[in-house]
């Protein structure tokens, strides 16, 4: 039987970074991946003359020369910074309120952002300045927290980062109201809530602020050759460091004896190890991969309480005309039925609701598709199990087509840009598609909901207590830093360091 210091289940963002980190620290690591390519949803696919990114809209926290962000710093530690080619958007986002047809284009750069907001919402300057000041404090505190490998000294934390400690239990809306941010500014500022998948009355301020900050500070970034480039480079680096990765290898069982991990099994092979990092949902791991008598009851209870996050529908369109010809001027279009996230969230429990994020990679990356063409990706999130309830074997293909039709129409009506006549290639991914490639329950793409007790901080601070099977840890979108490219990359490193500490 092959034996490894650590086995990583799943080659998603979290799994790749965790594996690479450990391998570089001299450990002998095996990645077992059920699919055929690295990256999980951080991948791309070809249709005709187009290559579509399956998932990445934009990466936050990727700095530029002389202005290091968290992610390029991580890539530097991993030895891949110079091996990937990144580009930055000049605009943070463009949001359209479907109801009023009002549009807001928010630029990159803290000062620019504040100025623009003042233009849209006179009187917002002071609160916006306070907001970004808090962001800075929070960023510092979070770096401190994640760099403290052992127990955290609360007194010390309080002394160094009083604002952070005070704000930690609060939700986005509570803090923004407290600093007297005008309502309209709150609505515009909270545009990114869909990326975290929780309305702002349920979303941790600390978590949200750290994300907004890293987008506004450096600008959203994308790799030249889609997220597959990042995944492939990580995989390559891992292999070059002596790591082993097996594809088409679905792990079916994790062996546990006396509360400790002893190995894993695929359909036809067993591997020995005392450390497993699972890049998948704990619901699946505890639900079917460990024999019942070895599953801690408290973990079952926690998992039964946790709520699955957003499901996604994504329409990939290869268009046979350029951005100029079609009339695309923005990289990211957030199309909202209602800028109030609480109202919008409710509506998004339905399958057909019309909240859409549109991304045109060609605005940032001239090489995103052949000359004279461009790509539009439309993504729409669904909260809850409405899609599970709607589809069956008989109607699935039709529902898929109706959804795509509906989302394209929503985009056209809201932006006034017509795209239908240019569609040369179309692919539609639904929760079923994501369930197929990831194996996640209900095909969720954002891990668990960031509900109060399941926000960033409670997850981070409970991690050690909840690690009840010795040698079994979780990374990725279901992990402590929640979902998103940057979070899962960083989380991969965190978990690797904790495993190393054992």
């Amino acid at each position: 039987m092959e034996k490894f210091d650590c086995i990583v289940i799943g080659a998603g963002n979290g799994g790749l970074v965790a594996a690479l980190t450990l391998q570089k620290k001299g450990k002998n690591v095996l990645i077992l991946e059920k699919g055929l390519a690295p990256g999980g949803v951080a991948t791309s696919f070809r249709r005709g003359r187009f290559e579509f990114d399956a998932s990445l809209h934009e990466l936050c926290g990727y700095g530029e020369l002389g202005n290091k962000g968290e992610i390029d710093a991580l890539f530097e530690r991993l030895g891949i910074e110079s091996k990937v080619e990144m580009m930055h958007a000049k605009e943070a986002f463009h949001v359209v309120d479907k109801l009023t047809k009002d549009e807001y284009s928010m630029p990159v750069g803290v000062d620019n952002f504040i100025e623009k907001m003042e233009e849209y919402v006179p009187g917002s300057r002071d609160s916006m300045t306070t907001f970004f000041g808090l962001c800075e404090d929070i960023q510092d505190a979070l770096s401190y927290l994640h760099s403290e490998k052992g127990a955290i000294d609360e007194k010390d934390l309080y002394q160094k980062y009083p604002n952070f400690v005070q704000l930690a239990p609060y939700k986005v809306n509570a803090v923004l109201e407290k600093i007297k941010m005008p309502k309209k500014a709150i609505e515009i500022l909270s545009t990114y809530w869909v990326y975290l998948g929780s309305p702002i009355d349920d979303l941790s301020f600390v978590h949200y602020a750290s994300m907004v900050y890293s987008y506004v500070l450096y600008g959203p970034a994308i790799p030249t050759y889609t997220s597959h480039e990042l995944s492939r480079v990580l995989e390559n680096e891992f292999k070059n460091a002596g790591g082993t990765i097996y594809y088409l290898s679905e792990v079916e069982k994790i062996d546990v004896e006396d509360g400790e991990v002893t190995g894993v099994q695929t359909k036809d092979t067993s591997y020995a190890t005392s450390h497993v990092i699972a890049n998948l949902s704990p619901k699946v791991v505890y639900g079917k991969m460990i024999s019942k008598e070895n599953v801690p009851i408290e973990n079952c209870q926690l998992e039964n309480e946790r709520i699955l996050g957003a499901r996604g529908v994504s329409i990939y369109l290869g268009l046979n005309a350029s951005c100029e010809e079609i009339g695309f001027h923005h990289y990211t279009y957030f199309l909202s039925n209602n800028l109030n996230s609480k109202v919008e969230y409710k509506k998004m429990q339905e399958v057909f609701h019309g909240n859409v994020v549109g991304v045109v990679p060609n605005i940032v990356n001239k090489k995103a598709s052949p000359e004279g063409t461009c790509i539009l990706n439309l993504t729409s999130l669904i909260f809850g199990d409405a899609f599970d309830k709607l589809v069956n074997k008989e109607n699935y293909f039709d529902v898929k087509e109706q959804l795509a039709d509906f989302l394209i129409r929503s985009f056209e009506e809201t932006t006034g840009i017509s795209i239908r006549e240019y569609i040369e290639e179309i692919e539609i991914a639904t929760p079923l598609t994501f369930a197929r490639y990831t194996g996640h329950p209900s095909g969720v793409i954002y891990g668990y909901m960031a509900k109060g007790y399941d926000n960033l901080l409670p997850r981070t601070f409970s991690e050690e207590e909840e690690t009840r099977i010795k040698g079994l840890r979780f990374c990725g979108g279901f992990g402590a830093r929640l979902s998103g490219f940057s979070s899962t990359y960083l989380n991969g490193e965190d978990v690797a360091m904790k495993t190393l500490g054992e």
Binding site: A37, Q166, A168, V295
Partner: protein, 382 residues
């Protein structure tokens, strides 16, 4: 940054913060102790739509003509086969000559009857699988299939509601399924089928097409013969004049047939300035014509194992693997699905990278099913 905000509540907050999990433990104290639920309806549908493989029984074999047979396949482990879009193919696995071969065949039956799939196989010159199926496969034989796969489909969103199908030889299989489906669901306004074969006897399902044309005013079929001259049939290949007569502007073409047909039509489409958007075609692979056959060594790394087998310059690496009894991961065999994607560690090859991701082309990945060796080769399979 100056200290901020919630000063009045400072004391309270700090205490709350002392319980760093923010009540996480209390909230879960009373939850169910059962094993967590992980399987949702959508996850169950994944297995219904995409089983990893299927064992099937050949329930019926129909001789369509001299060199073509249809096979009806029924699943052994379940009542229903996966739903499929008209135009999809399955990969058929055949054990013969002490070797395992996998080949794609388009489903030629109707999308609304899922108890059995029909595939229709024309015997190819020098064909291994097609020869086996047409001569040795019998009713009640068991086979393994994978899929359905493919992207040769009609799309309501992308395609015109007036379509022109150009089918050649056994390329009619998927087109037949598509036409029947589109007429039944009334998704298009008109369908024009140009179906080219060598002789009248080679025409598959003529009575069915004639009947459909009689019943549906919006469906028209023209049979075109290339090796037999008959009064009541046009003679020759599909060419520019023929296409111009169909008023092709704004209509979507569905093209499925032998390689030579794609190559000829491609030039015509370019000449007629028909945008890519309006041309959908079934996938195909160009075969390599070489006089001198060289034999090289193929070294394969897979999951820590190393295998060395001979390979020939006039065979794809996948064909050499089949010959060398090495089980290769293949589905489409024509370089499009990505299932066989491997890293070329060393050696020079003639290959087609048009369906690979750009980064993978940079990093020397190849599709062995469309790769011919020009030297000794070393590759790493997934």
């Amino acid at each position: 940054m100056k200290d901020i905000v919630m000063e009045k509540e400072q004391k309270k907050l700090f205490e709350k913060f002392n319980d760093l999990s923010l009540g996480r433990r209390d909230i879960t104290k009373h939850s169910s102790k059962d094993l967590p639920k992980y399987n949702y309806p959508v996850n169950n549908l994944v297995s219904a739509f995409h089983p990893s493989k299927m064992e099937v029984v050949v329930t019926k074999i129909v001789e369509e003509n001299e060199n073509t047979k249809s096979f009806w396949l029924k699943r052994e482990d379940s009542e229903y086969l996966p739903p499929f879009k008209a135009g999809s193919y399955i990969t058929l696995e055949v054990h013969t000559n002490g070797r395992i071969y996998k080949r794609p065949y388009t489903i030629s039956s109707d999308t609304n009857s899922l108890k059995e799939y029909r595939i229709t196989i024309q015997e190819e010159k020098n064909g291994i699988v097609s020869h086996y199926m047409c001569h040795e496969c019998k009713e009640n034989d068991k086979l393994t299939i994978y899929g359905p796969f493919g992207h040769f489909h009609y799309s309501l969103i992308r395609d015109s509601s007036d379509i022109i199908c150009l089918a050649g030889g056994s390329g009619i299989t998927g087109v037949r399924s598509m036409i029947v489906d589109l007429l039944r669901t009334k998704k298009v306004s008109s369908i024009e089928l140009i179906y080219g074969t060598k002789t009248v006897n080679d025409i598959l399902w003529k009575p069915e097409f004639d009947e459909l044309a009689k019943k549906n005013k919006n469906f028209k079929v023209t049979y075109l013969l290339s090796e037999e001259k008959r009064e009541d049939y046009p003679y020759g290949f599909i060419n520019e004049d023929l296409l111009r007569n169909l008023n092709p502007e704004g209509k979507t073409f569905f093209v499925s047939g032998p390689v030579a047909m794609y190559q000829a039509l491609n030039d015509v489409f370019v000449k007629m300035d028909i945008p890519n958007k309006f041309i959908r075609h079934e996938e195909f692979r160009e075969s390599l014509e070489t006089e001198d056959v060289e034999t090289y060594e193929l070294t394969i790394h897979q999951k820590g194992n190393v295998t060395v087998i001979p390979c020939k310059s006039n065979q794809t690496l996948v064909q050499s693997m089949e010959e060398g009894r090495f089980s290769a991961p293949v589905h489409c065999t024509v370089g499009i699905c990505g299932y066989c994607r491997s890293k070329l560690i060393s050696g020079t090859v003639k290959t087609d990278t048009s369906a690979l991701r750009k980064k993978d082309v940079d990093l020397k990945y190849i599709h062995p099913c469309v790769t011919y060796p020009l030297s000794d080769i070393e590759i790493e399979l997934p």
